[in-house]
Amino acid sequence: MSLQVNDLRVYYRTLAGDVKALDGVTFEIADGEIMGLAGESGCGKTTLGNSLVRLDGRMKLVGGTVTLDGVSLPIADFDEMRHFRYRDISIIPQYAMSALNPTRKIGKMIGELVESRDVRYREIRPELERRLSLVGLGVDVLERYPIELSGGMKQRMVMVVSTLLDPSLLIADEITSALDVSSQKAVAQALQSFRDHKFVRSMIVVTHDVSILYQIADTLAVMYAGRLAEKAATDVMMERARHPYTRLLIASLPEVGVRYDETRLSGIPGTPPSLLNPPTGCRFRDRCPLAIEKCAEEPPFVEVEPGHSVACWRSAEVAAAGDAMTVGAVSAVGDAAIATVANRTVA
């Protein structure tokens, strides 16, 4: 499977004007690749995930193309997209906990769903049962109502349902947000096994929790204010990120087993810009410690090395800064200090 997204623009219609949720996003996904899509709330990652599957009434496609396995996806055409949904592209929604019809037995609902997609329930039932055991659910779950399942069980159920017809591309939208840490690990591992078993060929895992992506994603894409900031292989991102925002994002993660003596856990001060009337130029300008005059002109999303693209004028300097885990390194390059770094003691 291959996915090419080219300069995708999707805006939300509101009474106050158009919210430019997705404002020119370009990337590719190869066969078997799990791409993590991270960013703050409101950066557009959920919009990106959803627009590939279902553009609801408030969203409108303003520009750009999406090509899946060489076929152009008619995402603006609701009825045309029906042909592609579930079989070629599928989604595990953000609201997975309430995605199952509360008044229908789960098995019955699945049966009616697949039959409506021209698949005989009887034929697919053995495969369904196999996958249920793969995620740790008993077959009896098919005879239950959603209300009888715990949150984690419902999450896993939805994962099985969404991948039942072996879609080429799966979009997993914030599937670990509502879970406790051990469930998160279980879900993340389940996702990986789906890909390894070839139930799903490629995935886009949307989350604001970078640490999960570190475990399962092959590549990481970071979005900011409706645009892509950087995309690269996961280990490259974690060690040699070239966008100041990416560096700060990763640096704000606490490290297990590390005790900070005088370092404050740093966040990134400020808030993302309003997408109703976004500023011109680089949208991270106002919060970026490295901002210069040139940043008033929007930096293009360019490939700086094979498989690694960044949208920043100063990406070369950021690369030279070295250790990505220290905030101090980033701010040393820039003008304003963000946090003080004294010592680091390893426990």
């Binding site: 219609r13 509101t14 009474l15 408030r58």
Partner: protein, 294 residues
């Protein structure tokens, strides 16, 4: 200022402006308000144009509408328009008073049950459910049948005393969900007394919901009053729209085809209650942006 008040006030300035913006543009709100104002004007101005006792025998018997008697006369030569205008007053009064009393009781019961929970909630809920199941009209019939003299206020009072249960249930449910919010917890922890918490934290955040509930109670009270009057248990003095219909049917206006006697009062009630329902929907859309059709 308490947490909820701070939350409310910083949001409220922008919200109020937003609400006003939509209120003045919402078709439903505009049309229904116009209808209500129209009838209110008739209620106020009508008796001034046609002064005197609306039940007085002034004109020709059973005359159809003409230049002098806009709505014709009854079998006894009473001015139907004068009765209509006076009846509108009675209807509005009964609705407002009955609706207000029901709203008050509903709020007290709903807030206390929703906020306190526990045993108090159980008792109040059981009490509410019992009164809820008993058909209001039947209860009112039994009560008012024994009153020798009946006035608008007494009628409205009893309507208010019997139609509050559904409002109490709705308010209780809303209070439940609000009571679990953080700013209420904050107030509770700070040791603010329950009554104050209800008044300063919960009620202001429900104000739109309370207003909508009141509108529905207002409409409901009008319908109940009309039914009571129609059975002959209305006020013994004066007139009301329901009473007009009672008299019309009792004095064979139907087979005699005296449409001017029974059509106007019905139109009045239907228009006012209908306008209230539509106003309720229109305001709901404004208060809850999710319902707005873009």
């Amino acid at each position: 200022m308490t947490g909820g008040a701070i939350v409310a006030s910083t949001e409220s300035v922008g919200r109020r402006r937003e609400i006003l913006y939509f209120a003045l543009r919402g078709k439903k709100v505009l049309i229904s308000s116009s209808i209500l104002i129209f009838f209110a004007v008739i209620a106020v101005v009508g008796p001034l144009i046609r002064p005197g006792d609306p039940n007085a025998f002034v004109g020709p018997l059973a005359a159809p509408p003409d230049g002098q008697y806009w709505f014709g006369t009854t079998t006894f030569g009473q001015d139907v328009f004068a009765q209509f205008a006076s009846g509108l007053r009675a209807t509005f009064t009964a609705g407002l008073l009955g609706g207000s009393i029901a709203a008050l009781i509903g709020m007290v019961v709903g807030f206390v049950a929703g906020y306190r929970g526990g045993a108090i909630d159980e008792i109040l809920s059981m009490f509410t459910n019992i009164i809820l199941v008993i058909p209001t009209l039947a209860l009112l019939i039994v009560i008012t049948a024994y009153l020798s003299a009946r006035g608008i206020f007494v009628e409205a009072l009893f309507i208010g005393l019997t139609s509050w249960p559904w409002a109490a249930r709705a308010i209780r449910a809303q209070t439940f969900s609000l009571a679990s919010r953080d700013f209420v917890d904050l107030a509770r922890i700070s040791g603010v007394r329950s009554v104050r918490v209800i008044f300063s934290e919960i009620a202001p955040n429900m104000s739109s919901y309370l207003f909508l509930t009141f509108i529905l109670l207002f409409g409901g009270a009008i319908l109940i009053a009309a039914s009571l009057d129609f059975i002959g248990l209305g006020p013994t003095e004066g007139t009301s729209l329901g009473l007009m219909m009672y008299n019309a049917v009792a004095w064979s206006a139907l087979p005699l085809g005296m449409w001017w006697w029974f059509i106007p009062p019905g139109i009045g009630i239907t228009a006012i209650v209908g306008a209230l329902y539509v106003l309720n929907v229109g305001l709901d859309e404004i208060f809850n942006p999710r319902l707005r059709e873009s």
